[in-house]
């Protein structure tokens, strides 16, 4: 139903890709239960038939792509960009429906405002889901190794749909099994498996990431609550403004103007409060949410490395055993060699990836915190300006109120 022309907006993530492969979601359509994203690619790379082309993709196809990366051994040493969350308009739709069912005590103006608010909310959710899907692709496009993946090319170029929806049911089951394996990984990473970490860098990263991920998840949840409370507050101004209007129109004395002006003021404050809420959402909540997922992806990388280490250790033990028994030493040796190489390869690339993660994180936080502060300042100043003109007596700091005014 809703289609929007969009521009690349990756507020949460700082990307430094080159321009040889540019991916963006140029359009998106929201239908009853699904969203269709138009993925547009501009590239001079020889891997593609054309320099500019578009395909239409749905959420499941993004997930397919993400899982393909995760399962690929070649990328075991990399942080796989977190998959975009499923588009979820349920809550928003429910609210719009409830509004439609109607509360007869609400005036027409109030109803119109509430509807406007809910539609804006719906639109915001929509924009966010587009941004999340877009940033996923853009990170892939920016990564020197990941961008060269064959599945990625297929995703970007193949005109037909990728028929992955049926598969996803199996995927879901596979995902369930994978989570069981994950808890074994948790044991690895929390050091309960007895595995000895030899590298200080990774030891530090392990403890750091474990704690960081938990805390950022907490911060994200709480930031969400703040944002929702702000929105609630903004919505409260609607009936207040309406009641003040009614009061004003009924009065025949000086309070008439007071009430009407106050009603107008609250309407303005409502909009500002709403903007504060949505800015906090974008600059704070969304950023925290993104890095919560990204830090999980980093943790996944550490798991993979530790599993490789475990394999390596086991291979060592097997080799020793084979040598003692003097049986099948060759295969044991080559196996041990492979494990060692794999482990070292993973460790090297993981180190680079984790350092990139840190610099990405720092620059993203910096950008968003600055923008957050600037926006909060802007809204506070505008609020102040709104408060002063209708009631000219409010000049300067409180307490200097002119007695003549009251």
């Amino acid at each position: 139903r809703n289609t929007h022309a969009l521009h690349p907006s990756c507020a949460s993530v700082d990307l430094q890709g080159d321009s040889s492969l540019q991916v963006e979601i140029s359009d998106a359509v929201s239908e009853r239960d699904k969203v269709k994203f138009t993925v547009q690619t501009k590239s001079c790379l020889p891997d593609f038939a054309q320099t500019e082309f578009s395909v239409v993709r749905q959420h499941e196809e993004f997930i397919w792509l993400h899982d393909a990366y995760v399962e690929n051994e070649e990328y075991a040493g990399l942080i796989i960009p977190p998959a975009p969350p499923r588009p979820d308009f349920e809550a928003s739709r429910e609210k719009l429906q409830k509004l439609g069912e109607g509360d007869s005590s609400v005036t027409r103006e109030e109803f119109a405002k509430m509807k406007q608010e809910l539609e804006a909310e719906y639109l915001a959710i929509f924009k966010k889901t587009v941004a999340m899907h877009e940033v996923f692709l853009q990170r892939l496009a920016a990564h020197p190794t990941l961008r060269r993946d064959h599945n990625f090319f297929v995703f970007l170029e193949y005109g037909q749909d990728l028929s992955v929806r049926g598969k996803n049911r199996k995927e879901l089951l596979g995902g369930f099994l994978r989570n069981i394996v994950k808890s074994a990984d948790e044991a690895l990473i929390t050091g309960m498996s007895g595995l000895k970490e030899v590298d200080d860098f990774f030891e530090h990263e392990r403890t750091f990431l474990l704690e960081y991920h938990t805390r950022i998840r907490d911060a994200c949840l709480r930031a969400d609550r703040v944002m929702r409370a702000h929105k609630c507050l903004a919505d409260d101004y609607i009936p207040i403004s309406a009641a003040l209007s009614s009061l004003g129109t009924q009065e025949v004395n000086q309070l008439r103007t007071s009430f009407l002006k106050l009603a107008e003021l609250f309407e303005r404050l409502r909009k500002l409060e709403g903007r504060v809420a949505s800015d906090e959402d974008l600059k704070l909540s969304d950023m925290l949410r993104y890095y919560m997922r990204d830090s999980q992806a980093a943790k996944d990388l550490l798991y993979r490395r530790l599993r490789a280490l475990a394999d390596y250790e086991n291979a060592n033990k097997a080799l020793d055993k084979a040598r003692t028994r003097n049986r099948e030493v060759r295969p044991a040796e080559s196996h041990q060699q492979l494990c060692c190489q794999r482990f070292e390869r993973l460790s090297d690339s993981a180190k680079q990836e984790l350092m990139d993660f840190k610099s990405r994180r720092v620059s993203s936080f910096r950008k968003n915190l600055i923008e957050l502060a600037e926006l909060e300042l802007k809204h506070a100043k505008v609020s102040l300006l709104s408060l002063l003109p209708p009631f000219p007596q409010l000049k300067g700091p409180p307490g200097t109120l002119s007695a003549k005014a009251v």
Binding site: L247, S258, V362, R366
Partner: protein
């Protein structure tokens, strides 16, 4: 017949309401700025006697100029004096009217009596303007503070004692500053006495704060948590506003019961104020009976003013209630926002601790501090939302109920007069019958009864006209007060909003360089 002044003229379409003075521009520079220097001392004794008809179409000598832009409380005070004349029914206390020096309304700016930092704002500051319009010498000022709630006793018999401090330069009081200890039921007792004396003759007696069995029980049981401190503070502020409103009423201020309440160190316990006492239940029954009676009185309203006013108050009541509900929601959500902000601040601090990039870590800690301060701001704003905005609305909702009450009393008064007229008619019929039947002794009795009922009819008419006059004046005074109250509170509330935004700017401006310092 008491010498009385005519109420403001009716028929010429100039109501006692206060129309918009100026254009919308200068919102609040209205009422007081156009006051001229106050009138000289009154001459109560020389008021001409007048023929007061219910419609006031009769001769109207020297009218009280209750003009739009004149706050002539002075004139009202004079009238009050004359109304205290001995001819009135003994509804007032039996003490002789006090020799009150007629006064001009002026007050000093009330210094804020703040017992602690988070006590409810004093909303009855008078402006300096009113001093400027002071009469040549007479000053009307009285200021009441309710403070220092103190728990007395233990368990279910415990109660809160409040200190009531009066500061005044009125000569009717023996001292200029004094204080007493009162408990909640004392306030209720005061209101009960004032209501029984003044309500049924048309005075709008400010209602006392509401009882709360739940709130009080928590306090008695000794829960020292924030909700019971909040409850006590809410009640303290409400009691203060109640007394302030009561003493502002020129007639009530003269009342000896009020003076005793403010002055005497010992006060007899008001036992009939308990909700579930016999007297309490009787009150409830009477209220129900009243409601039924009101529905059956079909009054022949000869005065459109009253009908109009009643409708206005009905509308006002509905709108205020609606607004009040919305404001309560605002208070609730702002408190939630505050709690959520505090929680976020903590998690931001934790995140900052985890962060291993030094500059980012510091910025996150600063963010946590900013959010903590903002939480504080939200709390203060919620406080302002409540004590200024929400409580004002609930006070007025109850005041309007009192206003509706006096209108009802007028109806009952009319009914009484009506009934007397009907009875007189019957007595006359009886007399006629006696004349025909030629029973001399019964005839005499009939004639006596006629005389009796003629007097009652006359009294009924006088009472009705009196209450009508009083109500008009009271409504005028009430509306003026209402306008003042609301304007004051609106300004104060806006100041609180301004303050919040200014603080926000300060905090974020301090944070911005920290964010930029992340390298």
């Amino acid at each position: 017949m008491a010498a009385e002044r005519e109420p403001p003229p009716l028929g010429d379409g100039k109501p006692t309401d206060f129309e918009d003075l100026e254009d919308g521009e200068d919102l609040f520079t209205s009422t007081v700025s156009t006051l001229e220097s106050s009138p000289s001392s009154p001459e109560p004794a020389s008021l001409p006697a007048e023929d007061i008809s219910a419609n006031s179409n009769g001769p109207k000598p020297t009218e009280v100029v209750l003009d739009d832009d004149r706050e002539d409380l002075f004139a009202e005070a004079t009238e009050e004096v004359s109304l205290d004349s001995p001819e009135r029914e003994p509804i007032l206390s039996s003490e002789p009217s006090p020799a009150v020096t007629p006064v001009t309304p002026t007050t000093l700016i009330a210094p804020r009596i703040e017992s602690k930092s988070m006590s409810a704002p004093v909303i009855f500051d008078r402006s300096r303007e009113e001093i400027e319009e002071a009469a040549n010498g007479d000053i009307f000022d009285i200021e009441i503070g309710v403070s220092d709630p103190e728990k007395v006793g233990d368990g279910m018999n415990a109660y809160m004692a409040y200190r009531v401090t009066t500061k005044t330069s009125l000569s009717m009081f023996s001292k200029s500053e004094f204080s007493v200890k009162r408990r909640f039921s004392d306030f209720l007792g005061l209101h009960s006495k004032l209501a029984s004396k003044y309500l049924h003759v048309g005075y709008i007696v400010p209602p006392a704060p509401e009882k709360s069995i739940v709130g009080m029980t928590k306090v008695k049981v000794g829960k020292e948590d924030s909700s019971s401190t909040e409850f006590v503070e809410k009640r303290r502020a409400a009691l203060e506003r109640y007394l302030q409103r009561t003493v502002k009423h020129p007639t009530l201020l003269q009342d000896p019961d009020l003076r005793q309440f403010l002055e005497s160190s010992e006060l007899p316990r008001a036992v009939n104020t308990q909700a579930l006492s016999g007297a309490g239940i009787l009150r409830m029954v009477n209220k129900a009976a009243d409601a039924v009676n009101k529905m059956t009185i079909k009054m022949n309203e000869s005065d459109a003013w009253f009908e109009e006013k009643q409708q206005q108050f009905e509308n006002l009541d509905q709108q205020l209630r609606k607004l009040h509900v919305s404001v309560e929601a605002l208070v609730c959500h702002r408190k939630e926002l505050s709690a959520n902000t505090a929680a976020f601040a903590k998690s931001a601090a934790m995140l900052g601790n985890s962060e291993d990039h030094t500059a980012l870590s510091r910025a996150l800690s600063q963010l946590a501090e900013v959010e903590e301060k903002i939480d504080q701001l939200h709390q203060e704003q919620a406080f302002a939302d409540f004590y200024m905005f929400s409580e004002l609305l609930s006070d007025y909702i109850r005041l309007i109920a009192a206003v509706k009450g006096v209108f009802d009393h007028r109806m009952k008064c009319w009914q009484k007069w009506e009934d007397a007229q009907i009875t007189l008619l019957k007595k006359r019929e009886a007399e006629a019958k006696m004349m025909v039947a030629n029973k001399p002794d019964k005839l005499q009795q009939a004639k006596n009864e006629i005389r009796e009922w003629e007097a009652k009819v006359q009294q009924g008419e006088r009472d009705f006209e009196q209450i009508s006059k009083t109500i008009r004046k009271e409504v005028g005074r009430f509306e003026k007060e209402r306008v003042k109250d609301f304007k004051t509170v609106i300004i104060k509330y806006l100041e609180s909003l301004v303050q919040t935004q200014q603080q926000l700017i300060k905090y974020w401006e301090a944070f911005l360089p920290e964010a930029k310092a992340i390298a």
